[in-house]
């Protein structure tokens, strides 16, 4: 309501824009936000296995947050590091050439 009043645009338009763009989240994120790239290059190099590995370890699906609020997970369509895929970015820190084996070490860094 506030945004709508201050910018003098219809209430509905605020929601329309907020729900159109993926970068705007309408639900709370975890303390650490994980983005896994599932773009073409990362995909042919095995990002699907990394995504599933993360989903299993954290017990959540994409766009969800762990019960303890530690991690939230999102798949994105390309972060521009296609030569080093599969790519995982946590809180803006990038990890290249990820595989299922390396997940535990990386997740450990984020309490």
């Amino acid at each position: 309501m506030e945004v709508s009043k201050q910018l003098e645009i219809p209430y509905g338009q605020v929601y329309q824009v907020a729900t159109f763009y993926k970068a705007f989240s309408t639900s709370p994120r975890g303390r650490h936000h994980i983005r896994v790239c599932n773009g073409t290059s990362c995909n042919v190099r095995g990002s699907q296995a990394v995504i599933e590995g993360l989903e299993r370890r954290l017990g959540i699906g994409a766009l969800e947050t762990t019960v303890d609020g530690r991690f939230s997970l999102e798949t994105v369509n390309c972060v521009g590091c296609c030569a080093m895929g599969p790519m995982v970015a946590i809180d803006g820190e990038y990890f290249g050439k990820m595989d299922v084996k390396g997940l535990d070490t990386v997740l450990e860094k984020f309490k």
Binding site: M1, P10, Y11, G12, Q13, Y15, Q16, T19, F20, Y21, T26, S27, L63, E64
Partner: protein
């Protein structure tokens, strides 16, 4: 205002510069089907059913009549085997989103173009809203009340929802049911009803 001369279905037609093919066709008594078009509103160009074949010199292409401006010497074909097939497919695709229980204009067109209402009925979401997301209702609602309903989401996620905080502004003016091409909105309101924006947001996670 300049006068443009062109052809529709091999018939010579005259129109004012700035008119669209659809407007010129209406004026000359040629019928081109529409769903998302409303004469008092800027064309939305989202249903695509008014697609026609045009030829400019040697080049031909398929364009939507509601948005294409008339041009001198243009040759327009409004019905053909290909166009009819395209319109039939568009209707069958529309039903993926709306579900087969359609009424009003969409139903009439489905009969005219022999569309198979059940061709893709098993595809898409489980709950179907008898809606093709043309948005005419939202535009009219903004005009009347400032917007008790509106679009949210993107792509296959897209829905028309109501905003409970503003729904007291639904004044049952009936602007929306006058323009709905699927018959979802009638004098009795929307059936199926509009989900609220909160239904939409909680459905996402």
């Amino acid at each position: 205002m300049k006068t443009i001369e062109f052809e529709i279905d091999e018939k010579k037609v005259r129109a004012r510069e700035g008119m669209t093919i659809l407007e010129a066709a209406k004026q000359s008594g040629v019928n081109i089907p529409t769903l998302c078009y409303h004469e008092n509103l800027d064309h939305l160009g989202c249903c695509r059913i008014c697609s026609v074949y045009i030829e400019k010199g040697k080049r031909g292409s398929i364009v939507t009549a509601c948005s294409y401006p008339v041009e001198e010497g243009l040759k327009v074909t409004t019905r053909s085997q290909k166009i009819d097939r395209l319109r039939k497919t568009i209707i069958e695709l529309a039903i993926v989103g709306s579900g087969p229980n359609i009424k009003a204009d969409l139903y009439r067109l489905s009969k005219e173009y022999n569309a198979d209402l059940n061709r893709f009925s098993s595809i898409g979401e489980e709950t179907k809203y008898n809606c093709i997301l043309c948005g005419l209702c939202t535009i009219k609602c903004i005009e009347a009340t400032g917007g008790a309903i509106g679009f949210v989401g993107r792509g296959v996620d897209k829905k028309i929802v109501s905003f409970p905080e503003t729904s007291q502004t639904c004044i049952t003016c009936n602007y929306c049911n006058n323009v709905c091409p699927t018959g979802r909105i009638s004098l009795k309101g929307a059936d199926p009803p509009f989900p609220t924006v909160n239904d939409f947001l909680s459905g996402r996670s």
